[in-house]
């Protein structure tokens, strides 16, 4: 049996003999004793000395035990100061009064030492329990405050990272709760140098800071690579590798990534573990599901990672709609899931495309009885390419010295063409020439177009006329993937020449491929308009660059850019 810890016990008893007897008994049990002869004295002594426990006679002069007990309990506040009433009151009404006054137990007269010791022990155990509870409550409250503060800081840092993108572009609509980050939801959007748009809706496993912490490196990769002109494929590889490296084994990030190309009117899609996205074709009303064909990011090693994307044609005003699993997983009172079927019903019932979000939110509210605050949705529309524009990139160098008279040649062969995208590198090289920077968008678009033509139509021998309808479109990209995968020979050469000219300079780009060539004259006859699904983007090159020309039966293309130094 554990030894009783010595307590300071206040004995309030008006009968001198009883007080003396009780004091002695209690002292013999190892405690320190304070005494009071009436209720008022008891309260006063309690205030001064803060005893651990009180033995209180019920009937005392000046102030009775009940009132004294009430006052002492009030003074004690949250802490438990047990009060044991000393009473020979037997009527239940009197006992009830003791309880109402805050008494915790009774001791009858004549005093029984054994019973008294047992009651003191029991009351002390309760007292210590209460003290522990209060201590832990305060500890928890403090920790909670720290946590809230840490989250505030994390959110502030993340908001800076997240808002370096273009979520506020006019063709993007989104819904995201303020604490989406802490539910693991991530929504990013950025323009590529060519004016395409990369969008990502992600969902990290877990909640709170662990989920948020993984989001930041991911966002940096997304924005950095997109700005440099890397495609979805390279960006995905890098994001997967990063997450695989930094996250624990059981953490991963489900994500859907889109590359919307306003110029070529298509969307490239990669979905790893997210619910189906939907491509809404306005003309037919059809909603094409974009299902998850891949494992989430951060699971597979680089060798095993599957970066294959699907490409779909789009018309102006068509929309891609993505949502997090918060919508599907919403439960009602009977634990029934909202589910995909109900979502399809909302789609079917939706009359005004612009009200889709409201319709979904309303359906969720009706289903669940209340709104959810952790749902993420995004809708991206394809607009006329003239309307889409990106922010000018920011350069970190001083602008003093730059290379103005140089040339470089590259030859990318066989297997390299399969895996390596030279465009970001070439663009970075060219942007060392400060005079070219204001035209970086056009520059990138032109080089990308030249390279893609050389690779797809030249080396891979794909016929762009295949892309005139949706089926042909899908077939084209299947063939592209297959031929690229089995490519052994072939090359694409890129020649760059920069020369000073007058107050500014001139850039000549020439791209050659090892393909069969094409009938240059016939294509040149076509009017200079934006060609839709098919076409070699030749008109784009002629529009954005100067002196575009083709030679060697179409295997060699050349285009120039000029700049003037502003005074």
């Amino acid at each position: 049996m554990q030894a009783q810890e010595p307590l300071t016990i206040l004995i309030a008893e008006d009968s001198a003999a009883d007080r003396l007897l009780l004091s002695t008994i209690v002292r013999r049990q190892g405690h320190q004793v304070l005494t009071a002869g009436n209720g008022a004295e008891a309260v006063h002594t309690f205030k001064e000395q803060q005893p651990d426990l009180v033995l209180m006679d019920a009937l005392m002069p000046v102030m009775d035990g009940f009132e004294a007990a009430r006052q002492i309990k009030a003074l004690a506040g949250d802490a438990l100061v047990p009060i044991i009433f000393l009473t020979s009151l037997s009527e239940s009404e009197a006992l009830a009064r003791c309880l109402e006054a805050g008494g915790d137990d009774f001791l009858a007269k004549p005093y029984n030492q054994v019973i008294l010791a047992a009651k003191i022990k029991a009351m002390d155990r309760l007292r210590r329990l209460q003290a522990t509870v209060l201590q832990q409550r305060d500890l928890i409250a403090r920790h909670h405050d720290y946590l809230l503060n840490e989250q505030r800081v994390a959110k502030a840092v993340f908001d800076k990272v997240a808002h370096s993108g273009c979520l506020s572009a006019p063709n993007i609509r989104y819904l995201q709760s303020p604490y989406a980050l802490f539910n693991g939801d991530l929504l990013l959007a950025a323009y590529t140098p060519a004016g395409d748009m990369h969008v990502m809706l992600g969902d990290f496993t877990g909640h709170g800071l662990p989920a948020a912490v993984g989001a930041m490196p991911l966002a940096e990769v997304f924005y950095g690579m997109t700005a440099k002109g890397y495609g979805l494929t390279e960006t995905l590889r890098e994001m997967n590798a990063k997450l695989k490296r930094i996250l624990p084994v059981d953490m991963f990030c489900c994500a859907t990534l889109l590359c919307l190309s306003f110029q070529s009117r298509s969307v490239e899609v990669w979905n790893g573990g997210m619910p189906d996205g939907y491509l809404h074709r306005m003309a037919s009303g059809e909603r094409v599901p974009l299902p998850a064909r891949h494992l989430p990011l951060g699971i597979l090693s680089a060798q095993a990672f599957d970066d294959r994307t699907d490409v779909y044609p789009m018309a102006v005003d068509d929309r891609v709609f993505l949502l997090s699993d918060g919508v599907i997983d919403t439960c009602d009172a009977n634990d029934q899931l909202f589910g995909v079927e109900r979502l399809q019903q909302v789609f079917a019932a939706n009359r005004e495309p612009d009200r889709l979000f409201e319709d979904i939110e309303q359906a969720l509210r009706d289903f669940r009885g209340q709104a959810r605050d952790d749902v993420s949705m995004v809708e991206v529309s394809l607009v006329e390419s003239a309307q889409a524009h990106g922010a000018a990139p920011v350069y970190s160098d001083s602008g003093q010295s730059c290379p103005l008279d140089w040339s470089a040649s590259f030859e990318f062969r066989g297997a390299t063409l399969r895996r390596f995208n030279p465009l970001p590198f070439l663009l970075q090289l060219l942007l060392e020439v400060h005079g070219l920077r204001p035209q970086s968008g056009a520059l990138y678009s032109v080089i990308a177009e030249l390279y893609s033509n050389a690779l797809e139509h030249g080396v891979l021998g794909l016929d762009s006329r295949l892309k005139r309808d949706a089926t042909g479109f899908a077939r084209y990209y299947e063939m592209r993937a297959a031929r690229l995968e089995s490519l052994q020979d072939g090359y694409v050469r890129v020649h760059l020449q920069v020369q000073p000219q007058g107050e500014g300079g001139r850039l000549i780009i020439r791209v050659e491929d090892s393909g069969e060539g094409f009938d240059v004259a016939r294509v040149m006859e076509r009017p200079l308009v934006n060609v839709r699904l098919s076409g070699r983007g030749i008109s784009l090159i002629r529009q954005l660059g100067r002196n575009a020309s083709w030679s060697d039966q179409g295997r060699s293309a050349s285009v120039e850019f000029f700049w003037e130094i502003e005074a």
């Binding site: 009968s15 003396l20 007897l21 002695t24």
Partner: protein
Amino acid sequence: MTDPHVDRDVLDTLREVMEDGYPELLETFLADSESRLHELQDSTSAKVLSDVAHSFKGSASNMGAVRLAGLCQDLESNAKDKSPEALAQLDADIHAEFAEVRPVYESEKHHAHIH
């Protein structure tokens, strides 16, 4: 041979608990009791009688004066119901009972000093 007036076992326990403080306890009880007796005699209010009787009952029971405690309980419970004559009788009984047990406590005090 149990004493109907004073429970000897209680005294034994008191002696053991109080040790050197035993005489002081006895003295305090006797003094307290004297003053309570006066209060009983002087007071006429049923409430006061009841309260004093309650208090006296407590000490008496602590000290093992069982019959005295019983009489005080009677007075405490019935002070408001009893007639003045009945009250006077009860008061006299209490005085008498105390007179009966007093020598016991005096003797205890005496013996304690000797040991």
